[in-house]
Symmetry: C3
Subunit: 389 residues, 3 copies
């Protein structure tokens, strides 16, 4: 943020002993002109399993984000011009991690709190639960059930009035892990983007394996019958035999479909010269869409999670850049998808959400993806890359 | 509650953002005449593992109930005319669910918080821990370690001044369970009854197995040497070989007995034309008793849990209507005791506690049970219904 | 504390409904003369996984202790004349037990919160995780992740102005355990000692096995290259084959050493006629040291935990009196190191820390240990006492 004058407020800091609790600040309280629509509010949630969770509502221009510091700075949902980006999970509460036992039910306890638009999976491991050598891995790692610290809002005092909200999440276990994840999201009043930039730092003395999946989930209204997915594909393959039966329609979405369950497709994307690629899901009439762009240098693969079951079960599609696919870690070493972070090394993950609410924005994103696809023809493999036991 | 004028106050609601915390209201604050003895108080408990638990004390006429919204609206204990109904567990704290790991010690962690008079077991499963096919089931299911939401007190503004306290408890896991349990307890100043009426709703799209056991537990003063249990029995059988050795005395209670541990008896009860049955445990001189009545249409079986060990270990008898017995679920399908709830279906469970404090009340209950028994002679089976492996 | 006039204040009590929260009291508020340097402060920690933890800072003369009631009255660290006693774990937060799943990762979840100077292990079991017959034991038992109740400060109103801080921690599970641990630490302004006196009481009706290890941990500045350990050794043996390779240097400390990991040595100590023994670790130039003295009647063995890995990994040495060594319980019965506590019995554990900050104090402690060693020559066994499977 360099030399630009900046309003800064610490919401939560163990070191400084700051915990703002419930509060709200508007633009004028941040020293901004009255016509700049920026606002932040934090609520202390109550009732059921959300007792103790906090929810930050951040308004920036025509966008509104709900962020959960108690759950690793997840984005619960976002909206732009009243178009909602997110989904309706059967889990409706913002579940406090104290009520989640990730070891439960063979490592599936994570699903008890799963309902956000942006869910981080990692960073010691991600993917399906199960044994990997001597370690039992629970679904999608521990980060999402870890409360953040050092939650800080910064608002630049001049156009384009850049707003950032950062938080640090630790994954530390004596003798095993000494990871810090420094998360930051940025946006401006006038642009459709949410920039997510995370840094994983290994504070330990030894190199460690790590994995990350940005489990980004979208339901109605973007998802509906004949919503279309656009991805610049180098190679696409089914996650398992069931997905192999859905290859022909991998990018076309059905209406909510009882017993559909989920089909998962694994993609190696094509990126531009800067290493950026993007995927787009637009609604049937192409008026609205969600664009997910990311840097493939640290997130080289994409999982498409087509979970178009009934509305009650959670009608949702995931557009999930990752270091890895969603299989258990034990399947991914031979694919080169279990990277290592050296002692004191820092890994940067960049994901950008485009909240597209006009046909022009949608069409522009489509064209960019078509341009990326010019580099090569998509290879569609009929079978999964690995045989699951 | 229809057209009767009603005082209503929300104690806790995530949707409304209401959390009353510590408070007390007396009859006049509820708009009631001064001579109607109705009062509610909520305390925020502190210390040890009860930090964060809430306790509601509800006084209605000559009865006083202590209810734990943080533990699924459990009834910690009740009293009428200073006779206590409940028991003394070695666990003395109102343990907050955040301190209970149900997966611990082979699925026995539930026992770390077990001390209430009314403990709900269920609703995905109930019974002993262990593997059932691909699922590892922890003891007695998850509901009791789930905090309630939408906790609401209602008091009718005219005689008989009916008081109800309701709360909703969710059991939700993406892809697996979408259950809501709407609990309600009702009582009036002049009657000896606590009416418990719960509704289980399956909000998911698919039929699911479910189980429920109302684990109602009573110690001194009702339980003492020569306390007697009265049950309208169609068929009674021992839970296991140890209980088989105690069949002759299944309904007579010993003094606290070191090394007794527990004997469990499984009962198919006889009900009246409306489907109601009842069981009674009265003290030795039949001056006081606890009557448990219930609707067998959804709670067809009764577990009698004779845990008459030493006072320090928890001298207690359970009178437990259920969908099922207390075995692990895998043993009960062949007995037809693992029911299914369809998508959007609602199951009603009704249990009524009679807090009997006079010989007349006790004798009247005995006579009703004798009348039920007239329908058939009790069949006592010498061996358990299933062979445990 | 008998007849000596005493200032007493309850910080936390479930029975009395007292929870002081954040507060501070100085000497004058305790009725003490202004020149008596005694002060207590309690903070409510916030941020990350320490949300909900409390931290008591107790100043007594030239000593300052930080105590964590939320984690079983652990001593986070201590200082005297600005010399710090404690260590720097990769885990920097005072982790609230609600965020620790001890069952995770094969029973290693305890390590997620491990960073204190005094960590109690026990009391149902201590030692390494793993199966022991029908029971799966998690690392070092449950006590450290259990919040205390009945936290009470007492300050005598006359010289030597003895200060005590006590707290009770329960380990209770219906049918299994009914343990209470009454902890107390005492100190005076003028002396270098922290006296820790704990009483384990079995409130159940049956005898139970128990174990305790006082996992006392010290890093810089006491620990540095050429820090020396002094122990009155009857017999010393390596914990495992790796430690067997380090026997020659068991009592000399290296600088932080990458890949050192840990060497553990098992000691049977020599005690004086009163059953007291002591161990000392002093820094290289013998100006400062930590002395740990204890009563071997209930803590008969000593574990030396030489974890002199890199600073980032946690450069630390443990001086750990115990009922038992650090192996899983299943290895220790044949060694006679799994004691039993009878019904209603009380076991007393006494550990004294000497915070030594002058060459004279260090030298005096060395001489006392040499005197103890006069009783017998140390026997050094080349192999572990048991063969681990």
């Amino acid at each position: 943020m360099s030399a630009i004058p900046c309003f800064e407020i610490v919401l939560l800091s163990s070191r400084q002993g700051i915990d703002l609790g419930a509060f709200a600040l508007d633009a004028s309280q941040m020293g901004l002109p009255a016509d700049v629509n920026i606002r932040i509010e934090q609520q202390l949630l109550c009732g059921g399993k959300q007792q103790g969770s906090r929810l930050i509502t951040l308004t920036v221009g025509d966008k509104q984000l709900r962020i959960v510091p108690t759950r690793a700075m997840a984005i619960l949902d976002a909206s732009r011009h009243n178009v909602r980006f997110g989904w309706d999970s059967p889990v409706q509460e913002v579940v406090h991690p104290a009520f989640v036992n990730q070891e439960a039910s063979g490592g599936l306890g994570w699903l008890d709190g799963f309902n956000e638009m942006l869910v981080r999976c990692g960073y010691q491991w991600a993917g399906h639960p199960g044994q990997d050598g001597n370690e039992f891995l629970t679904l999608h790692g521990r980060i999402q059930n870890t409360p953040a610290d050092d939650v800080i809002l910064r608002v630049e005092q001049q156009a384009p009035w850049r707003v950032s909200l950062s938080g640090r999440v630790d994954e530390k276990r004596f003798k095993f892990t000494n990871f810090e994840v420094h998360t930051e999201l940025c946006l401006t009043p006038s642009e459709p983007w949410i920039h997510v930039e995370d840094h994983l730092i290994n504070r330990g003395s030894y190199a460690r394996e790590y994995q990350a999946i940005y489990h980004n989930n979208f339901g109605t209204p973007i998802l509906e019958e004949n919503s279309q997915l656009h991805v610049a594909v180098a190679e696409l393959s089914p996650f398992n035999p069931y997905a192999a039966t859905g290859l022909a329609d991998w990018n076309r979405m059905p209406a909510p479909t009882a017993d559909f369950d989920e089909m998962v497709f694994n993609v190696l994307p094509l990126a531009n010269a800067q290493g950026l690629t993007q995927a787009l899901m637009c609604n049937a009439n192409q008026q609205q869409g969600i664009e997910v762009a990311w840097d493939i240098s640290t997130l080289p693969v994409l999982t498409i999670w087509k979970n178009t079951d009934s509305l009650q079960q959670g009608y949702v599609v995931g557009i999930e850049p990752g270091t890895s696919f969603a299989w258990n870690r034990r399947y991914q070493r031979t694919l080169g998808l279990v990277p290592t972070i050296q002692a004191s090394e820092e890994k940067r993950f960049y994901v950008r959400f485009g909240l597209l609410v006009t046909p022009e924005e949608v069409s522009s994103s489509q064209q960019q993806i078509q341009a990326l696809q010019q580099q090569a023809e998509a290879v569609i493999l009929p079978q999964p890359l690995v045989t699951l036991d």
